[in-house]
């Protein structure tokens, strides 16, 4: 029986499971480009701030007529704005790390979590998996090598995972682990290789 190596580096945190004899065989997060897209509004905020600063530098600061800009209220407002942007930016980054997909020797688990507002978990036991397929669409997806991974179950449950890095390899790997679980013999191509 072929068992995928456990992707765990020594000295790192252990993984707890409800099932005692369950172990992690595959663990992955979304592609970094997903975080880049999530942070789009902050790139826009940074751009607007930069344009505003350039405008202020060339007009008001240059002519030394500060007017409203010299007020204390505006100073406090700018400080608050700066802090809100920093907190929102890092919360988005931290939320990226809380979403993941894990494949154990018994099931596929998908977790969506944010720091405060969301905590969801989907799982499909290997007994119920009907089909595993992936798709890569678009130029960016093919260049950066990410795609969508779909796992369907017999009970009309479906896990769709977007922005999965190396989605084709992941689909193959999950398929192999699933095959090991349900006892499918090695694939025909591998048997042929062994015979040579």
């Amino acid at each position: 029986m072929r068992i995928a190596p456990i992707p765990q580096e020594p000295g790192h945190s252990h993984i707890d499971f409800t099932h005692v004899d369950e172990k992690c065989l595959l663990f992955f997060r979304k592609h970094g480009i997903h975080l880049f897209f999530s942070l789009t509004r902050y790139w826009l905020v940074a751009l607007v701030t930069l344009v505003a600063l350039v405008y202020l530098q060339s007009s008001i600061f240059n002519e030394a007529e500060y007017g409203l800009l010299a007020s204390d209220g505006l100073l406090i407002l700018i400080m608050t704005y700066l802090l809100i942007v920093i907190h929102s930016f890092f919360l988005t980054c931290i939320n990226y790390f809380l979403d993941f997909i894990m494949v154990t020797n018994k099931r596929v688990i998908e977790v969506h979590k944010t720091t405060f507002l969301r905590d969801e978990m989907d799982e499909i036991p290997f007994d119920f998996i009907r089909a595993i397929h992936h798709e890569k669409r678009g130029i960016l997806a093919n260049i950066l090598d990410f795609g969508t991974l779909n796992i369907e179950s017999n009970v009309y449950q479906r896990i769709s995972m977007h922005f999965i890095p190396h989605s084709d390899q992941k689909a193959t790997k999950i398929s192999e682990i699933h095959g090991d679980y349900i006892g499918i013999p090695e694939r025909a191509s591998r048997r042929e290789e062994d015979m040579r």
Partner: protein, 75 residues
Amino acid sequence: MLQNLIWFVIINLISFAFYFIVLIRVSHHVKPFHFHETRETKLFGVLTVRLMFFIYFFCLLASLLVQLLLIFPLI
């Protein structure tokens, strides 16, 4: 000036309190497998959630300095 200073202290106290709330929430209310890291799961091959908290903290410190410079300009 004094009023600015009071606002500065209040805003930054709230800000750092929020940081520690996030830190405590992620460390204690999140299951250990959220911290499971492999070479592949690290963002850009380097960044982990722990490292992200360090950067977060230093950005807050940097913003504290910038605000101090806004309140007490050197020139």
